[in-house]
């Protein structure tokens, strides 16, 4: 069942069928109707391989995602899929492990699958111009800080939150409640810029409040899994048990930390407040419900795709910063005195 069959069936040439399929204006309304009817009746479906071949590009958008163990990213992925499908494209997905591969794998995908665009989801983003040049199609970096450092703004697009400012906001909220000994759970050591920036936000919030940051209140989880966060909290507790509040860089980490605190007989928020960043669904239903800065997951995905499609269609690259919104849960309270 090819375009040729449709042509014969409806008594016009192959070219006309193709024109109808691609909404070219040069087709008489009458002919168009006839062709559409034929397509219907024959249950014809165009062969996208053939189309891609001549167009030298497919309608597939690649999504390279790093750190799928974080449910927050899964959630963004879902909205990306919706948006991609809504825009008439196809989504090809690719999870990756270590960060270094990210660009390289993405570039490989683009070349072999003739992708028309790429979304890099979940990693840091401070690639070199050489690295980004290997990606030959428009791409959007989604979630997490955009480090504008080495790259020409017009070379890429991104949708992101300001990790520094959001961390500052979260920690400041704890300070406003009266907390002074505030611990922090940072992510993997390999996602430099995110942890670095959020750590910087944490430190600056403390300093601006006249509190000297204390290294022994800082713990690296070494990965975004809940298990890692649980263990990190135990390490932290083994070292210090006098902090009255804890800031974690993801909701998952926050939930695991609360469990670890609980298992050590520390009640949240009575003995220790907890605040996180992400705003995943489940953290509304934990006991106590997590207080967190909600990242706009849906908009993040939608905007990433919208921007990508725009750039594919010829518009300029663009960088979009989104803001979090506080969701007051039940894990933040003033410190006991």
């Amino acid at each position: 069942m090819t375009i040729k069959d449709v042509a014969e069936y409806s008594g016009v040439s192959i070219s006309t069928i193709s024109r109808v399929l691609n909404n070219h204006p040069d087709v008489r309304e009458e002919v168009r109707a006839k062709v559409l009817k034929a397509i219907q009746e024959l249950h014809y479906v165009p062969n996208s391989s053939a189309r891609d071949l001549v167009k030298t590009q497919s309608d597939a958008i690649g999504v390279v995602v790093r750190g799928v163990e974080n449910p927050f990213l899964t959630s963004v992925m879902r909205s990306i899929e919706e948006a991609i499908r809504g825009a008439g494209y196809t989504m090809v997905i690719h999870q990756i492990g270590t960060e270094e591969d990210e660009v390289a794998e993405g570039a490989g995908l683009v070349r072999s699958k003739r992708l028309c665009g790429l979304i890099l989801l979940g990693g840091r983003f401070d690639y070199t111009p050489e690295q980004t040049a290997t990606i030959e199609v428009p791409f959007v970096c989604c979630t997490y800080t955009n480090s504008f450092g080495s790259l020409d703004k017009n070379a890429y697009s991104s949708v992101f939150i300001d990790d520094y400012a959001e961390a500052y906001k979260a920690v400041n909220l704890l300070i406003e409640k009266g907390h002074k000994k505030i611990a922090v759970l940072l992510g993997a050591t390999d996602d430099r810029s995110i942890s670095e920036l959020r750590y910087k936000g944490y430190c600056d919030a403390l300093r601006d409040a006249g509190i000297q940051p204390d290294q022994s209140l800082v713990e690296q989880t070494g990965g975004y899994s809940m298990k890692n966060a649980y263990n990190a909290t135990e390490r932290l507790l083994a070292r210090r048990n006098d902090f009255t509040a804890l800031f974690t860089v993801s909701d998952s980490m926050g939930i695991a930390a609360i469990k670890a605190l609980h298992n050590s007989g520390i009640s949240v928020p009575r003995d220790c407040s907890v605040i996180a960043i992400d705003g995943i669904e489940v953290s509304k239903y934990t006991i106590p419900a997590l207080t967190t800065l909600i990242q706009p997951r849906k908009p993040m995905g939608y905007e990433a795709v919208r921007i990508l499609v725009d750039v594919i269609k010829g518009k300029k690259n663009c960088q979009l910063r989104l803001e979090t919104e506080l969701r007051e849960g039940e894990t933040v309270a003033p410190p006991k005195k």
Copy 2:
């Protein structure tokens, strides 16, 4: 950069390059080495559109997933992606809404993207022979009961758990602890077979213990979201508040139900025990940790892909039943007095 360039560069014909690329035996070792070197040096990447066109099939496996709001499915999806990538295929993903579309959308995908196989993830599975015939490639149904009813066993493959037996197991566990008034939270009304079968398992477990099932202890959530489950629990509580245990058909629902119970002043497990089916990561870290029957998520995804690839390569269809494993959490206790 095409195969032609590689041919010229290495001084052999196009056909030979193709043979090297496809590991045909008829190439002298010396020539093969020369060609591979050329490919390396030119950074040649084959154009899969062209390849797919002549092969009349791509290397893409479609995954049609229904009910992504359930984190359990997301988790299976991840293992599917890993397996697909590991087997050298590409994953094309497609979320769908209502069940009726499932087969139709899948079939459409197959035809237009020339998929070489399909995985139907998360829905019930009692399609008619006519429906399945529209899918022209091998496919595997993954997760949830296989209703062998109308279909020839050789027409499809599946990886599933026995919803009836697992529900029976869960409820029986509560009965063994001494519970008699056991409520149940069922899923959406439109996923007939799953809810039906799990409901049947629930009823039979009760009857076998000499307890008459009671309609007023049964509540439909009308969807797998946590919000739905929370609301359903409130409806249930408005009607009855004398049940001592609750069985929910997913972990997410269990977590939301516990929150609803908690907010009504009912403590789990002191006043009410809860057991669920799924075994997602986060339910280990809730307070209290959820007692649940773990579905083997990783094996489920891996096996689905393994079977699919086998069938693509010519093996017979196969139906694989997996078993759950109990994870003792902190939400099940004997009833008060």
